[in-house]
Structure formats: structure tokens, C-alpha cells
């Protein structure tokens, strides 16, 4: 079943790479029966020292954030304790659709905040870090200086808010609101 093989060899999903007794399965592989198979398209890496076989991907991996990814998204619904974020960009790659993330109040700011409404409001653009994907949910954090709201809109008139000192100020209706703004808060106008 397994022919001649060498490191760097091009493999497609389902290609048998080794017998389980020979090599341990590494990233990009899976075990079924007594064989290790590739599960992605890429190049086989045979680590004869550690007896491990893995596949280095030739294709982009699916655009799904992992722990540590920086994501950009739109705030969807806000409660006192948490809010849902529709993730649109992972790192520098745009998603073809979107994925849901959750920002909890305890991960929102380095300081004490009374409610998530003081952090962000529905419709805001937010930059966050994925801190966990436990229970298959993307848990976000905006504690870091450069994380937080990057573009916010006035909840009274919908105009874009500007960051003035620590406050968010609406130039159109003079409304003042609270946000956990990122140090990279965009001013588009």
C-alpha cells in the first residue's frame, strides 16, 4: 500500500503515509486502521529522529481562528455580561462568511466596567484576540491596549463617534458615550 516515500513528497488527502508502528501521526495526518493518512494537501515530512510523520500544508488552512488569533468583527447583540461578535477578518484574511465570537465582561477591559454597554454597542467594529475555543465557541478578549472598539457609532443618531481623550464624542449631535476603544481607533473622516 505504501510505495516509495521521502520528505517533501507531495501528498493529497487520503494518501497513506506510514504504518502506525513505524511513525507517530503529526499535524495534518490522521489514523484509521493501522495506517497514518494525510488529511490535507501538502508535503510529507518524515521526522526519523522522533519517529513522527506530518504534512506541511500547501493549501491555505480553512479560515477559522485559533487561540491567539487577532480578529476583527462587528458587535451584534450586547447584554450586561457579554456580547456576541460576528467575526469577519482573521489575522489579515477576510472570511468568505462570518463566525460567531463571544466577549465576556471579565475579558473586556483591564479596568472595572459595570456593563458591556460601556465597552461596545451593537454595530461597532471591534478588534479582539481569541483567548479560547473551549466548548467550540470563540471566546474573545479586548484587554490589551491595541484591542477594543476600532470604529463606533453614536447610539442616538448613528453618526461616527470620534475619540477625544477617554471619551467618545459625536460631532453631529454632541452625544458623549463610553467605549473600550483600541489605541488604533480609526478616524475615517
Amino acid at each position: 500500500m505504501i510505495g516509495e516515500r521521502r520528505s517533501g513528497q507531495f501528498v493529497t488527502p487520503g494518501t497513506p503515509l506510514a504504518i502506525i508502528e513505524e511513525f507517530l501521526p503529526g499535524p495534518g495526518t490522521y489514523v484509521e486502521g493501522c495506517y497514518v493518512y494525510s488529511k490535507i494537501t501538502g508535503y510529507m515530512l518524515l521526522d526519523t529522529l522522533n519517529k513522527k510523520v506530518s504534512v506541511y500544508p500547501a493549501v491555505k488552512s480553512p479560515n477559522v481562528p485559533t487561540v491567539g488569533s487577532i480578529v476583527l468583527g462587528i458587535v451584534e447583540s450586547v447584554n450586561f455580561k457579554s456580547c456576541d461578535v460576528s467575526i469577519k477578518v482573521v489575522g489579515r484574511r477576510k472570511l468568505s462568511g462570518s463566525l460567531m465570537g463571544v466577549l465576556h465582561i471579565s475579558d473586556a477591559s483591564p479596568h472595572y466596567v459595570e456593563s458591556v454597554f460601556d465597552v461596545c454597542r451593537p454595530g461597532d467594529y471591534i478588534k479582539a484576540e481569541v483567548i479560547s475555543n473551549k466548548n467550540r465557541t470563540f471566546h474573545l478578549s479586548t484587554v490589551d491596549r491595541n484591542l477594543g472598539v476600532v470604529l463606533a457609532f453614536c447610539s442616538r443618531c448613528g453618526y461616527q463617534l470620534s475619540k477625544e481623550n477617554r471619551r467618545m464624542y459625536c460631532k453631529r449631535c454632541k452625544n458623549v458615550e463610553k467605549r473600550k476603544a483600541s489605541s488604533e481607533y480609526w478616524v475615517l473622516t
Binding site: 507531495f10 493529497t12 488527502p13 487520503g14 494518501t15 497513506p16 490522521y30 484509521e32 493518512y37 488529511k39 490535507i40 494537501t41 500544508p57 500547501a58 493549501v59 491555505k60 488552512s61 480553512p62 479560515n63 477559522v64 460576528s86 472570511l95 468568505s96 462568511g97 462570518s98 463566525l99 460567531m100 467550540r136
Partner: protein
Amino acid sequence: MEKSEKPLITEDGLRTDGRGPRDLRPVKIEVGVVKNADGSAYIEHGKNKILAAVYGPSEVHPRHFALQDRALLRCKYHMAPFSVQDRKSPAPSRREIELSKVIREALEPSLFLEYYPRTSIDIFIEVLQADGGTRCASITAASIALADAGIPMRDMVVACAAGKVDGHIVLDLNDIEDKNGEADMPLAMMPNKGLITLLQMDGLVTQEEFKQMLELAMEGCNLIYQIQKKALKSTFIKTVEEV
């Protein structure tokens, strides 16, 4: 419709397009042709011209369709109005709805859907020109599009039809043979495991002929698998050189 008066298989065993009974039509595959999609492929299988694109994993709309333990796989097979002799209405026909279902079910066992719960993976297949055996070519193309999207897979899926024409068992039927032949049997399989993920047939065959057709179709699948691998390889080896 062109109903051929001449025999579908000549005395020296050649078919209407000059092939032998166990020959495939020429297959050409390109990878990554739709720039917006997460993965895509274009296949020319004889006169079939088919595009397949994959989007996802992403949020499921409408949300109540989401599955808690795995990704939702959706597939839409559609034929362009100009793909056949008489214009086809662009609204999905019953045939297209059934094919969308069987193509999805043929690809489903090859994917690790449990890696992406509560998301959806959408496959769009557009038949630009049809010449018999579109569902097989669609499956072959969609599987490459899924590999191009980087979605973890147990195996590739390839599909090929076998059938009975003028009393002969033949591989890879074209449109005329499909319409005027006795039987057509599309088969999809995971080539490294030898597992059959799609099997349909219409026509009349005996048990013995059925067995022969099964074996011939699997042989055809293995031939297409080599082409599929080559297509993926040439695409990615090229990208590496560019970088």
C-alpha cells in the same frame, strides 16, 4: 434531439466519439479558478464544462440549521440555461434538487465535519456545458475544490460512470450513449480506501453485468484519481516556484 440512426458501437468496437469501450474521455482539471471562493476547481470532462466552488466554514444562515456536533454541509448543483441543447429554465428542477442531494451525500463521508461544529460548508456547482455524466464530473471537481479550501479530508472522492450500450459494458458514457444506451451507472468512491460513496443506476442489467459494471467504474475512478492528483500537484508546485 439528435437520435443517431447509426449504431452506438461499430463492429470494430469503437464508440460514437471514436473511443474504445474501456476508454475515458479526456479530462482536464484546473484548481483555484474562482478567486473569491475559499476553494474552487474547473473540470473539462469530454464536453462537460463544470465549475465548483467551496465557501466556508462560516456561520450558518438561517441559524437554526446549525448542527451542534459538526459542520453543516450544503451543496447546490445548478445547470446554466445554455448548458444543454434546449434552453433550460434557471429555476432548480427536480433533477437538480436530487443531484444536489446525492452529490452532498457522496462527499460527506470524506470530510472531517466534526472539526467545525455550528458552521456551514457550502459547495456550489455550476454546469456550464453538459454532455452526459455531469454528476460524476461535478463530484470530482467538488472534491478538489474542498481540498483546495484546505478542509481536512479522509480521502479524495472521485466519480466515474459505467454503463451498457448496445449490449457492451462501457466506461464513461457521453450524452448520446446515456440517452440511447441500456443502462447508466454513476459511481463515486474514495480511491485510497476503495469505499463507494455514491451509487446510482438506471436501465436494465443482469446481476453479472452489474458486477462487471461495478468493477469497470471503479477502474475508471482510479484513472481519474491519477488525473486529480496530478492537477493538484501541478497547481501547488507552480505556486511554490512563484514564491
